[in-house]
Symmetry: D2
Subunit: 363 residues, 4 copies
């Protein structure tokens, strides 16, 4: 399935940056999940560019739920959400069809779609489509929250500036979900914002690391081999534009530990089985152990920069150079955060519905 | 699909560590792919423990192909490969059913399967099942090789010792595929081996980083959103026991670059479009661009160590401790290498068959 | 996948009878397929109720393609088509939420969705959603036609009146595709129409048999066991509301033949291998043999009738009776015809794309 | 998925008629289902040829469960069952590779697999593979029985002889499941057997109709559009060799009724909602209504007959004729019966597990 993900709960994504609308269909959601329109709006706001840290294309994201909701609740049938593109300005992109922008999907789209692709503004590859994912994810996040499952993501690093680590997960997640620019340490938040603006002023861009924590997941969900929780989450996360790496816990650092240090001992705590440490990030053998699931994503610097870049002319098959105009972000990491939360929620709904049945999330 | 992965080409895995056999079904392979039994054997040998760097359980891996091959070639119907377990020694594992080993899947299996799981030797979660994946992967590797697509993996880091980086990919891949212990720098190879043996002597274990390169992939394969090449590969890789992280290229380091540094400029080279650098690891927007696809995997230290560890008694619901006996590896990274190559080949066969049709790999 | 069908080419359906819109996403269509808007309109017209043979709810079916098409051709990315509901009149359906109409899905929807379903006008179960399938199918039909594959369906039986059998398939398919009421024998067509109107005048309804023929399919497509061409087509056909049976060829009659009569002998014809008869309906072992694929569908009489019917009150849990008002069809078989053609085309696109790759249909 | 069917519970089939083994993997079965080896054997016996009504190839079906079962119960991990081919006699089939037998899959297999197929005895298309399905189905049948869901199938028609209709479903199903030749009326049973033997004596074969009833299914399972209960069952049934048609209830006859006759009125019965008639065969809008689910299958006469038949020589591309030797059945309908029960059980396990979660069947 090319643009569909999930089994018991599935998501289908469609649209192009400069087409009439983008949208999403979520199927398999339990009946009876309350739709919180204000929350969907607030989630979309987190994704929307703000001030100088984001692109000048400011879409209102006037989403419309056109199916699967009746009297304010999910019906159990497919929920389709459409979002019109109101501020597309295609004149900026006239050359892209045969002069591919470095780091973008222009070249690969051409190789896959043979020139029939809508190349304007990245077409189907545009981050614009993540607005629909965010709206869909907001419904999933609400449903999980009602089951005691919470998700929070912070910018752990941006432009070489590090946020503080997670401390009190509950308080940290609450704080993050109240912020549009999700950094735990307010001072670092300010520094990161400045660094993004500064990169933009240079006609350049920056990347970073997003770190996500999920609390409240029951032990025993996920599958042993190919549909491990790690497999399912990573599959979803590499759908987020600019994500190029994922580690559960802090794996790339912790592989330097010995087994005696890495292993998470079990102990009784208030009558429940817990682990003392959480190097395995809440997952053993692909299946949750009831501890928080945490992962970190490498987010590359935005490819759209305003400096002259070397590229090729695909018609003439010769070297050329390109200076991008148009409206772009000096960073997407702060906007990608809510997309990560959204896809995390959607993939967890899928895993939970497979395990506990299609009604579980709505009961 | 719990133990099945892939669409056009799919893999289904079954078996338990101490059951009678483990095995795999590969479906969707093109008809007419030659089966190289000697190559399958040599691949299984790479996975098999050797000397003091591996477990004392030395299985002969007497695999048998029981379907889908006729007169030495694939027929196009499902290929089932079975491998008997000949050296299982279950007496070592008598306690595991209710005293979970830290870092293993004992506890999560119990939460998922309610005590009905075959807990002996890790049961269905055992690395033993990767023998079947290796046999299946050997067929896929051969088929890809005939199409000019080569895969090679080295131990980039183990026990804090770094191998040299890839230089000449063709020569490096050839060298790696001739080695049982896949390290490019012979001196570092020796040091890593010593470090593994030393950890074993301490009753402890070590982990590291595997780095894989794939050359010869055509541009334009993969899907834009949920079935990006990164999504598909990562989904498969987290099926490899002990893998806890993946980065394409060197993403967790390179996110510190600015966009102007990270972007891979295009240029003409011998009449073909190439990129000057390869920070995007051969993939833009989820789709191959014709450059080598590279990724690195974080492999945790083996959880089986021979020191006393704290755990719980799940029957009595109280704290206890555990000292593991039995036969275990002080590291699995060197054995996991061929499993990574195998799953990479299988997932690429799936992506290619989807793109070019079910006959393509055999033509 | 609940409301998604297909692998290489997939269809996702959404919407409710009295919701704002219904729609469909088709993913996996090859890039470069020309969109013939006039043809889509003419297909929708075939589905639309006409005069006294159909419901008084006459929707204009003002479809809009909101993604996946650029400069008049498919891009290769998901095509989303939305169709607004403009003539929904919900006041007629106020009682349905707890007094289920016999033969409809009211009761089963309530059992599945626990009362959260949009019960108005059949909600998600409404034949209204087949408009979107028809629009999607029109694109698939065009694409197949360009490859020499033609599909035609006639009303083989309605209200006990039989159409003549297929004679010259090419001419018959051409004729059928030019008709809104698809009967080969003009006289029988008139009789069927009268019988439908007469049933409507009685406040009653009629059913019948649809017969479909597909010509031009290459030999060798389909899968041996679970994804046989029969399995795939039947899976899709039982999605058409009111379909309760399918036979390939004329199987329920021909099972009375002996093997020596039923078997289709092979012979050379103009240098090509053909069969003398076609009792197997173009399919052996689940795979096409190059002969026409034919199948017949049992279409039940429309459940909406205007007579008093016995039912239950689900709130009070007691017997009651019900007389349906509102706008309904005395038959749907003539309108279902184009839906059958559409789903046939979509499922064949899926099978062909799996076999020959994702570009094949557009090349 | 070519040889895999199902989502929450899936079945993967492999093997060839004259290969070393055939087998099946069932994944997604709940943990804790008791394995009744004697019942599996008795089910295999029903499928095995007996006396003159079946082929002279009498396989012992010495199945072996090699994974997924521990201490007599399912573990929740994939169950693989292998069955050796012990009586294959390939010398009978030497010509089949280029002189296709009419009615068989020889020709289509060659078109699909380009001559790489194992043509001996029908290869992967052989009814021999249904032994593995029967063994798998036996586990599913047991699990459903423990949940109060019963399945029974009779030969409703064979060689133009009709069995009596279902009367008391409970008693009829019990009787059928105790029989190896499943006919309700003992006299008709004798006549059918004689007719089969007589056809065999003529070197010919006969077909017929199988009718299945399922009782005890809860209301509210299945999906509205593409994964309707009818879609899922029909998809599975067309995997049974020789099945060419399916009708739910008696649809091809009942389409002649008017809506007022066909509609199934609801009424209260012992405090529960039932329907007065069951023309819809327990399914409305694709979803169960709690009444028995019934369907009838058209089973074609066995293609293997011992008379000279016209065919072609695919190497020489010229007309020729063929007289089949070897060991074949004058009918398969009586043997297909248990395969139908088995696949019905497997597909229902899938639908139920999707609805109620992966543990439900084992709880």
């Amino acid at each position: 399935m090319k643009n569909t993900f999930g089994n018991s709960v599935s998501v289908t994504l469609f649209g192009e940056s400069h087409g009439e609308m983008t949208g999403v269909v979520i199927d398999g959601l339990a009946p009876g999940i309350a739709i919180d329109t204000a929350f969907i709006k607030s989630q979309l706001k987190k994704r929307r560019p703000a001030g100088k840290t984001g692109t000048a294309r400011k879409e209102a994201d006037n989403f419309k739920i056109i199916s699967g909701v009746f009297e304010g609740k999910t019906t159990g049938t497919p929920v389709c959400i459409i979002i019109p593109n109101e501020k597309a300005n295609s004149s900026d992109y006239a050359l892209n069809s045969f002069i591919p922008r470095p780091g973008h999907a222009d070249y690969t789209a051409n190789k896959k779609y043979h020139g029939f692709e809508d190349y304007r503004g990245g077409g189907h590859f545009s981050g614009r489509l993540t607005a629909a994912l965010t709206a869909a994810g907001a419904i999933a996040i609400s449903a999980l929250k009602d089951k005691g499952i919470d998700i929070g993501t912070h910018i752990a690093r941006c432009a070489k500036i590090d946020d503080r680590k997670f401390k009190d997960l509950k308080a940290d997640i609450d704080k993050l979900n109240s912020l549009d620019f999700a950094v735990l340490d307010d001072k670092k938040s300010e520094l990161m914002r400045e660094a993004i603006i500064s990169a933009g002023a240079d006609g350049d861009s920056v990347g970073g690391i997003l770190e996500t924590a999920v609390t409240g997941l029951p032990a025993g969900i996920g599958e042993p081999w190919f549909d491990s929780v790690e497999s399912m989450i990573s599959h979803a996360m590499f759908s987020v534009p600019a994500v190029k790496g994922i580690e559960f816990g802090n794996a790339f650092k912790d592989i330097n530990l010995r087994g005696s240090e890495f292993n998470d001992s079990f102990r009784m705590e208030d009558g429940k089985i817990k682990t003392v440490t959480n190097h395995n990030a809440g997952i053993n053998g692909g299946i949750t152990n009831g501890m928080p699931v945490t992962f970190r994503l490498a987010v590359k610097p935005t490819p759209s920069i305003f400096r002259e870049q070397k590229t090729v002319d695909m018609l003439e098959m010769k070297d050329t150079s390109l200076t991008i105009h148009g409206r772009h972000d000096p960073a997407v990491i702060h906007r990608a955060r809510v997309v990560v939360d959204s896809l995390t929620a959607l993939v967890l709904c899928d895993i939970l519905a497979l395990r506990y049945g299609t009604d579980w999330l709505g009961e």
